[in-house]
Symmetry: C2
Subunit: 520 residues, 2 copies
């Protein structure tokens, strides 16, 4: 009970009351996707941007991309602008740029709760949960285990609870206690009932994609026409680097393109492994692979809402293991941002680390990656909370810790911090205090002190003695307690009973039909 | 022995051999103070910069600064440009700007080893050790204790060992087992024999300052004229915010100004406590306090090398405790950078946190503060390694961990990362690998793999299973082992025996004279 008492003392009476209402375990920032007011960090000069663009275009013109989807090849062939040789696809830069120009520079994603709409493009910055780890780690277990539906649901609850999580990515952990043929149905049901934020669909087979489309439509209470009218969900596909797009990913991509839904393509170009060891080459290759998918979407439906993702990082050249949040990762992300702006496409980056547990290494790697996302002008930050071991582990402690950093970024972008009006220069207050007193008690402070500064929910700002007397709890352990408290008091967002029933009926019917094939 | 074995396996044979030579416990980056190639992050527009400047000027013109040093008041009086009423000093903006313009925008600091010269100004970025905590914490102790000479010496050894530490600040921990009257003599002896990097002197009484000057001169083998010819050392003074400079700080400031040494003034303006709760007001006040000291230095010796420091942060409005590495701290640092560039003065910032132990909170707070130093165009980063509990604790584990982040920053600034020549775009390599193979084995990779990517010395990039099999060691514990290994194998930099004897004789003589008074 010591930790519990300590937490209560820290969060105070108001929070205590709210907690009894069951919704406010912590005092967090309101829903408020930040507007990124910083000028992007641009390590490339104009010649550098032109050189990478030239590299990407020459890859498309001279080397080509392998397209392992017959339907997609037909689409490219019908366009009249491509050279196809077997499965190798090449296209000239004029054609590429003409098609890419049809993609909107800014678009919205509207989930079943329209108040949780997010915008891709402009200066908008949105954070999503960790997606797709097969394994799970928490401090109570103290070891890595295979993901389950309960773990997945708990991480979905965290994703809904934290206002600094603006969209839901893939499964926050792969629930391997559900058979793969029906897993998507159960997790989508959990996702759509436990959260009301923008949802994602895996492009892993037509049945999964079509089921996801249908469930998102039902959850939103939408007709098919209403669903098709604007993006309500999105997919994220990865090319099979180097220079290849596989069948199911492109299938899902085209299905969502036809329905006008959000499309994010993220090549996984690890420099030195699936891409050149030089960052400029890895970025050029990544862009070539991504642009092919953008062109395909525009051929399927001109104006389809696309975004370019970056996952360019480096490997550990000693072991070949992927590394994340490195200096090279930061620069590659910033460079990709410069090129995404050249193509006038929204961008996706990530919050990532190689660390195995939520310790200091995990924090500096994640912090580096999140800030480089900010610096690159990224609009969608995947894996922004909860990722460990290069994406192989999801951790609720790491999730809670990352949300503290995400709130830092949100607060950092609050324009009130850098206001310079007379009230902020505060000459009268300075004159009033003079050189003797302090500013605690004066009216200028009293008028502002409740909102003047960011209040962390996880950082412990007490001095050492007070911190020690309360048990000397390190950050990850505090995060574990916060995780448990949030889960214990979680209340799902409201959903009309008929819609919930329709969703459940859909899941039951599709299960009775056997779900989807699992042969790839 | 498990940890030791594990570490050896990690660092490999080459490192093992070097270790037997006693100098290379880890493979670290070479001495290479970074050139900051990023455009500074500038949250203020021109009107914002002008408004803060106007605020600082009006503080100096209308409110004034309390100067508790009679000699300094005489200097200001003799200038003919000031209005003095008792100890209150006011001055017009034309006078301020005229004097500030005499300060050089760029200057060097040359320690006894001239290869360790650093530059203040331009795009130069230099990191220093934690300075002045009264207490110490390490993982073996597991508790906060009073600093001793041995702890201080160990932290000096870390400061010398790490090439990413470019200058030595104040005592890395206050060694309270030495009487205050002679403490400066012993610690300066340790500092000047255990390190060969730029040294600092506390401005805490004329005897301490004069002793430090003399010891740095002796350590450098310099005549008085040689010493006076260019900056060999520096002091850092703090104003007593709000709006006050005290006697001993200004005494040391003027003594070093007369000798042409480096001068850094850092007001400690905690918004909401010693400065307005609004950041723009706190920054304006900080600048006014700092500029007064710069003017004084120019009056004492026109062209005296000065820098403006920022320590503007916010308090926890619940407890009044100082907070560090907050979003507000980051913005205040960036805003100060914009004004330092307006005044064409080099700038100092810090690597700081409120956390009590080297955990995730310590890392995100420190990371935020270090990156904001980078973003502000700072030239000198105080406390860049080893700081905990708002500066009350020095920790060797934190020191080692921070050096990993500092190496990230150094590597991040390496221009090879963002090169875009034909060798980096690597079209031939991309064509060679095509869509089937991987890049590990090809010549383009083989030619570059040893230097292509940053190699961390503390991050563990193994997968979970390998990491767990090796003991499952979290970052702070790994840092503890690195600390112990470095200390065990430390070899001080060379110093000629006659110089070492002269230093020892000086210390003995000054001790026999009773050291310095300790009545303030």
């Amino acid at each position: 009970m010591t930790e519990e008492l300590q937490r209560r003392r820290r969060t105070g009476g108001r929070s205590g009351n709210a907690q009894r209402r069951g919704t406010a375990v912590i005092e967090q920032m309101p829903w408020q996707p930040p507007i990124n007011t910083d000028r992007p960090t641009e390590p490339l000069d104009d010649a550098g941007v032109a050189a990478i663009h030239e590299g990407a275009m020459r890859i498309l013109e001279e080397i080509g991309i392998e397209i392992l989807n017959a339907e997609a090849l037909d689409v490219f062939r019908a366009s009249g602008g491509c050279t196809i040789s077997g499965t190798n696809l090449r296209m000239g830069r004029d054609f590429v740029m003409e098609e890419v120009a049809k993609a909107p520079p800014e678009w919205t994603l509207t989930p079943r709760n329209p108040d949780r709409q997010i915008t891709m493009g402009g200066r908008h910055l949105n954070f999503g949960n960790v997606s797709s780890p097969p394994s799970y780690w928490d401090m109570a277990l103290g070891r890595k285990v295979t993901g389950t539906r309960e773990m997945c649901a708990n991480l979905l609850k965290l994703s809904q609870y934290f206002n600094c999580i603006h969209f839901i990515g893939g499964y926050p952990v792969e629930p391997q206690d559900i058979h793969a043929s029906v897993r998507h149905l159960d997790v989508l049901y959990d996702k759509l009932t436990l959260t009301d934020k923008v949802a994602h669909a895996y492009s892993l087979g037509k049945e999964r994609v079509e089921d996801a489309i249908e469930m998102v439509r039902i959850a939103g209470g939408l007709s098919h026409a209403e669903f098709d009218a604007s993006p309500r969900m999105f997919t994220n596909i990865n090319s099979t680097s180097p220079l290849k797009h596989d069948e199911p990913m492109l299938d899902g991509w085209m299905r969502l393109a036809r329905r006008g839904q959000g499309l994010v393509v993220t090549p996984f170009t690890l420099a030195g492994a699936m891409a050149p060891v030089t960052l400029a080459g890895a970025v050029a290759q990544s862009l070539a692979e991504a642009l092919v998918a953008v062109v395909l979407a525009q051929l399927v439906r001109p104006g389809a809402p696309c975004a370019i993702g970056t996952f360019t990082s480096n490997v550990d050249m000693k072991s070949g293991a992927p590394a994340f949040g490195t200096p090279e990762y930061m620069r590659a992300t910033q460079m990709t941002g410069q090129l995404a702006r050249l193509y006038r496409l929204p961008m996706r980056a990530s919050g990532v680390c190689a660390a195995n547990v939520p310790d200091a290494q995990a924090t500096w790697e994640t912090s580096n990656s999140l800030w480089s996302a900010v610096q690159s002008g990224t609009h969608m930050v995947y894996h922004a909370a909860g990722w460990l071991e290069g994406g192989l582990i999801a951790s609720p402690e790491k999730f809670v810790m990352d949300c503290e950093i995400l709130q830092h970024i949100q607060r950092y972008m609050d324009p009130t911090l850098t206001r310079t009006g007379p009230d902020e220069i505060a000459l009268e207050a300075i004159a009033q205090v003079g050189n003797q007193g302090h500013f605690f008690g004066i009216q200028h402070t009293q008028d502002r002190y409740t909102t003047a500064f960011y209040q962390p929910f996880l950082s412990d700002w007490r001095n050492y003695e007070a911190w020690e007397a309360a048990g000397g709890i390190w950050t990850a352990q505090r995060a574990h307690q916060t995780f448990r408290d949030i889960i214990a008091s979680f209340e799902p967002p409201p959903m009309d009973a008929p819609i919930r029933e329709e969703l459940a009926d859909f899941v039951a019917r599709r299960k009775s039909e056997g779900g989807c094939p699992t042969d790839y």
